[in-house]
Amino acid sequence: FRYKDSLAEDMRRADLVISHAGAGSCLETLEKGKPLVVVTNEKLMDNHQLELAKRLHRGGHVLYCNCSTLVETLQSMDLSTLKPFPPGHPEKFALFLDKVVGFQ
């Protein structure tokens, strides 16, 4: 399929997700606790997408490769080395914003 409104159901059923480095895809996958292999294509992508993928990789949260090394990565990967990714805290933003606008 080209686009679905939500990949949530597919993700729930998956054991492994292989994705591009888009933030939404990465974060949604990590939040569902699924192992993630991020495939980057440095020639096509905006460089900034790489920043997040690289940081997530440095933190041990994702496996990281490019198109040509994907097969090798899948063959030699050890998913148990991946660390869980802690969730974000939109409630902190809500508290901050309440102070900014004067709702307290």
């Binding site: 888009g22 939404g24 920043e51 997040l52 969730p87 974000g88 805290h89 901050f96 900014v100 606008v101």
Partner: protein, 165 residues
């Protein structure tokens, strides 16, 4: 656009009903965002919202010269939009669409209209560098939030609350 919409909706997820009505602004070409927004609003008890489209000010990697023209066009649309909606607060997450909207709010504020508070939250994707929108709005926003500590160091006027999406 997609990622930004998801982030904005997460930022909104813990806001109280006092933040109403909500006016969503997105680029003409963006169909998926509309669907995501409707889905989010359907789940809220206090669903008062509107959807407005404006033309995109700049496509990724568009030339500088044509960008000036398209940005001016977007600014005209944004001025009309801000004048119509008269927001108290503008919250944005970085797509090019937000720059003319914020600049319009500033301009109309200078001309005597109620001044909107501009809160800019840089995208979670931005770990080490700011987006172009971020670089511009760092100087024009009232509150500028970043989600990674490297950016807090580079941009001292920013606010760092950790990851908020």
């Amino acid at each position: 656009t997609g990622g930004h919409t998801t982030e904005i909706l997460r930022l909104l997820s813990c806001l109280s009903e006092s933040y109403s009505p909500r006016h969503y602004v997105f680029a003409h070409s963006d169909k998926m965002s509309e669907a995501k927004i409707r889905s989010f609003e359907e789940k809220r008890a206090d669903s008062q919202f509107t959807l407005d489209c404006i033309p995109r000010s700049r496509e990724v990697r568009q030339s500088w010269i044509s960008s000036v023209v398209t940005t001016l066009y977007s600014i005209l649309h944004s001025l009309r939009l801000i004048y119509k909606r008269k927001p108290d607060l503008i919250l944005c997450n970085g797509p090019g669409t937000c720059v003319p909207v914020c600049l319009s709010a500033l301009l109309l504020g200078l001309l005597g209209m109620k001044r909107a508070i501009i809160v800019y939250v840089e995208s979670i994707c931005r770990v080490e560098t700011l987006s172009l929108s971020g670089k511009i709005l760092y100087y024009f926003s009232d509150h500028f939030l970043v989600q990674w500590p490297d950016l807090k160091d580079k941009y001292p006027k920013s606010v760092y609350l950790g990851r908020i999406v």
